[in-house]
């Protein structure tokens, strides 16, 4: 009995000692690397050649009229030195393929993934999205049109309620931080802007302020029109992440 207790204690001890350390997989760079106003002039310099003078910058040295701002006392004395520290602008997507599987009439197929943004400066960001073309049969030319939602009211700029699977189409919903307000709830869908039809990409998420680990879930939904052949349909989706200034 004592040996059992002893053995258990050893195992518990080893469990505590060997358990995985806390790992932040998406940790950014060291705090010491943060710079103010992008005036990161480490390693900068000038080289003079025959035709021109070449100045080096590392990570965005501001020279000329702009240079003075990054180093001026205004930013230190203004009280905002704790607010804007320029760092990497980060954008991540949890997975790079959407599996809708074989589509059949009168039934929804869905898939989802998350997108995440961090921009520690206070200038904000915008995420846009577009599709290269509507869902198209893998081995053919037949397409599933972009959804118009239950009442025929949604398009690439405005989301609409889409819960009726007899309404065929392809659309997406976004929920989470800083998402566009027309995605009232998880049943509201938009079309993707169709690049093939020269539609402009549309904002789906954005903020004018500090963005630290802002996450949204993108849910794709497709339903096949009743008069169409069942099959595998695909497209490609592009997310565009743009920092504010």
């Amino acid at each position: 009995m004592i040996s059992k207790v002893f053995l258990s204690c050893i195992m518990l001890l080893s469990w505590f000692l060997l358990k995985p350390n806390l790992v932040l997989a998406q940790n950014l760079e060291s705090n010491s690397y943060k710079v103010q106003f992008g005036n990161f002039n480490m390693g900068s310099g000038r080289r003079e050649g025959g035709a021109f003078i070449l100045s080096d910058t590392m990570g965005g040295l501001a020279v000329g009229p702009y240079g003075q701002y990054g180093s001026s006392d205004y930013f230190i004395g203004g009280g905002f030195q704790y607010v804007y520290q320029i760092d990497y602008f980060s954008f991540s997507i949890s997975k790079l393929n959407v599996e809708l599987g074989e589509l059949f009439a009168n039934s929804f197929k869905t898939d989802s993934h998350t997108i995440n943004v961090t921009t520690e400066g206070a200038s904000g960001y915008n995420i846009y999205a577009f599709e290269n073309h509507p869902l198209r049969l893998v081995s053919g030319t037949e397409i599933i049109p972009d959804t118009v939602c239950d009442l025929g009211t949604c398009d690439e700029t405005t989301a609409g309620l889409w819960v009726d699977s007899s309404v065929g189409g392809f659309g997406f919903n976004v929920s989470g931080d800083d998402v566009a307000t027309d995605f009232t709830n998880g049943n509201y869908f938009r079309q993707f802007a169709n690049n093939e039809a020269s539609e402009s990409m549309q904002q789906i998420m954005g903020s004018n302020n500090v963005a630290l680990d802002r996450t949204a879930t993108v849910t794709y939904q497709a339903a096949m029109p009743a008069d169409q052949d069942a099959g595998n349909y695909q497209t490609s989706i592009v997310f565009v992440a743009v920092p504010g200034y």
Binding site: M11, D56, G64, Y66, Y69, S123
Partner: protein
């Protein structure tokens, strides 16, 4: 033997506990695509006839090797909040990766955990016009190989932008100049409601310049005015922007928060998240001034650079006055009703 067998069972049970029921790590799984770019925005000035190297760092923290294609486009602003509106293309010829115009649209590979320092050479001809250029370097990123993906899947890719605000300038003189475009303040407000205000500035100069100034609210007999410091957002040449500000009290709060960083972190708080939330709430473009009860004249002064604009809000208890004025007729009506009912 039976003791040994029970020991073995205990050992296996513990091993099972250790391997299967271990605590779930708080680590987030690495994303399929996780791309980082630095700097998000760079303000650069180059003399005509000169050149500079502009280094952009691009890091792949995702799971897969990425094929990166750099593209240069122009951008417009939203003329309100510093948001970038990308254009389809750019005709700007003087910014090139390694000084080679052929490298636009040419892909390169970025492996997981790899960071590349990309050297963009900006070289203006000697006759370049004095102008500010709004450019965005786009990095189109797609998974290099989709070997593990079904050919019926919809594929996802990303584009990340690094903005470049580039000035061609013959000297280092600052020619940015801000003026007040709009200062929205109501003429009258209710004592119990408070009032909103906001301001927009315009840069009439020819290079970007940061906002510098304050909004001051004075009210007799209060001895000291309340001051909102304007956040030094950049306003591009010939552009507009809503001012953002924080009150001096809020700035003190954020300073105090920063000083407690180590204590908060030690107590398990996510300091960066707390700070980001605070900034998101307090650094704003629409201001709302409210106290328990406001009365009298409130003088608001907006100072941006050398431009000063003053406005006055008269605050009276209109809602209380309205109720007071409505009470006698209501009382009279109530009396009338009760008399008619008694009859």
């Amino acid at each position: 033997m039976s003791l040994k067998l029970s020991n073995l069972v205990t050992l296996l049970l513990n091993l099972f506990l250790f391997l299967v029921i271990k605590p779930i790590s708080p680590a987030q799984a690495a994303s399929s695509l996780d791309l980082k770019v630095f700097p998000p925005t760079a303000y650069l000035a180059v003399k005509p006839g000169a050149a500079i190297n502009h280094e952009v760092k691009l890091k792949n923290d995702g799971l897969y090797t990425l094929e990166i294609t750099p593209v240069l486009v122009d951008f417009k602003t939203d003329e309100r909040s510093g948001q970038v509106i990308l254009q389809q293309k750019s005709d700007f010829k003087h910014l090139n990766l390694d000084g080679d115009p052929e490298k636009w649209g040419r892909s390169f590979v970025l492996k997981p955990s790899e960071e590349q320092n990309l050297n963009f050479v900006i070289a203006f001809p000697s006759d370049a016009a004095f102008a500010e250029h709004r450019l965005a370097i786009l990095f189109q990123a797609r998974q290099l190989s989709y070997a593990s993906v079904s050919n019926s899947d919809t594929l996802i890719s990303a584009v990340l932008a690094s903005n470049v605000i580039l000035l061609a300038s013959p000297d280092e003189q600052n020619r940015g100049e801000l003026i007040i475009e709009e200062f929205k303040v109501p003429r009258v407000a209710d004592s119990f409601v408070g009032f909103n205000f906001s301001a927009m500035v315009r840069n009439i100069g020819i290079n970007a310049v940061p906002i510098d100034g304050h909004i001051k609210i004075s009210h007799w007999p209060s001895p000291s005015p309340e001051i909102y410091e304007l956040y030094p957002d950049m306003v591009l040449a010939d552009d507009k922007r809503l001012v953002r500000a924080m009150s001096e009290a809020e700035l003190s709060e954020i300073e105090a928060l920063e000083q407690q960083k180590e204590v908060l972190t030690a107590s398990g708080e996510n300091f960066e998240a707390l700070k980001a939330d605070f900034i998101r709430q307090k650094l704003r473009t629409n201001f709302f001034y409210k106290k328990a009860f406001l009365i009298g004249a409130y003088d608001l002064e907006l100072k941006v650079g050398d431009d000063i604009l003053q406005k006055r809000v008269v605050v009276l208890p209109f809602s209380a006055l309205a109720i007071a004025m409505l009470l006698p007729p209501l009382f009279w009506l109530a009396n009338l009703l009760s008399k008619s009912l008694k009859k």
